[in-house]
Symmetry: C2
Subunit: 221 residues, 2 copies
């Protein structure tokens, strides 16, 4: 994978020749091996991030150390937090962690701003990325307010399970995602198991009755 292959990706396909050259000279690809924090609050953003492969997880950390996922950035999406800081001169307010085997393209701030001015497709992708993020954040905020933990856990299982109904996450990871503790997840899981909704294993949870979980979300309590 080289930086020139960036040009064949999503929003960069329709660029003018000049912009392509600009991108080729300026962009840098970064590979992330094992999951590791790559950005911390207050980091001054030096460019726009574009997820080529893998996934980024943006999360908050409370004073007591517990985490909570704010949102994910999937392949083909621009990492908008960077745009945020890029256009508004705000310091980045959260943590970012890359999944295993993630590739990120870093487009320096100056280059991005130039592209944004010249290229309608970049303007478009920028606004769309921001809009999508706003949407996700509003959804998340609404979920936190409106649903109890068991419903949010059920939702997590339904959303992130593979086609085969498997979810390869430890309970600790689920807890961090939901902003709670492992014990609470284990307690809820025990309940789900008792009701025949899921089976638990080491590092994996299998969904046996998706309708049951879905019903849990729909009905109160």
């Amino acid at each position: 994978m080289t930086t020139s292959s960036l040009e064949s990706l999503g929003p960069f396909r329709q660029l003018s020749e000049g912009s392509r050259a600009l991108l080729r000279r300026g962009a840098v690809l970064a590979e992330c091996g094992p999951p590791a924090p790559i950005l911390q609050p207050g980091t001054s953003i030096s460019g726009a991030y574009f997820v080529v492969r893998g996934r980024l997880r943006v999360y908050a950390v409370a004073p007591d150390g517990t985490e909570a996922t704010l949102y994910f950035i999937n392949p083909g999406e621009t990492c908008v937090f960077a745009l945020n800081s890029l256009f508004n001169d705000l310091r980045y307010p959260a943590w970012v962690q890359a999944d295993a085997d993630t590739t990120v393209a870093l487009i320096p701030g100056g280059v991005y701003r130039e592209l944004f001015q010249k290229e309608p497709s970049i303007q478009d992708v920028t606004v769309r990325a921001l809009s999508t993020l706003v949407f996700r954040l509003m959804e998340e905020l609404e979920e936190v307010h409106a649903y109890k933990l068991d419903q949010r856990l059920a939702n997590l299982l339904l959303i992130h399970a593979s086609a085969a109904g498997e979810l390869a996450m430890t309970q600790q990871q689920m807890a961090a995602h939901l902003g709670t503790t492992r014990e609470v997840v284990a307690r809820l899981m025990r309940d789900f198991v008792a009701r025949g909704f899921v089976e638990t294993g080491r590092g994996v949870t299998r969904v046996k009755n998706a309708d049951g979980l879905a019903g849990l979300i729909a009905t109160p309590t």
Copy 2:
């Protein structure tokens, strides 16, 4: 106040003559008297909203009827939720309520899109508005996760109190803002009063010891 006065506001000041004419023909001003919901989830957005005077409150409503404020839109700010739906064809996912004496300019979708394409200043204000919103939402999400209700209430009092330390809100409104119930707010208030942090009155709360409240936020429990 006429629509032509819009042109003297913020981002519209630098427009070309053609764009001004476009705006003059297309934009509509709406006055909102008493506080009332003006948008509901699923509403299809027909344009971009721009707050001229007053304030908009964007909030979520849980199935059980309790509300929670997601964010405010202040005078001079574009109502980005509209942009969101405008550029992404997403249905609007929350409720919007206008404060008393609020004036909103409605710029039809087609007009706004045309302005966005032609005018760098509109591109700029759009991206900035979205960025700011992303920032606010992330902050809010983080606050909900990291702080307990007493801390969030203390924060509300500190942030929204006037220079004289007065906050003209009923406890019911505070509760809706924080996504909880009036009784809980009353209980926390009793505690604040006992500690000498505030004085309560009908429809108004006076901050007597801002440092005390601030200390509450800083220290755990």
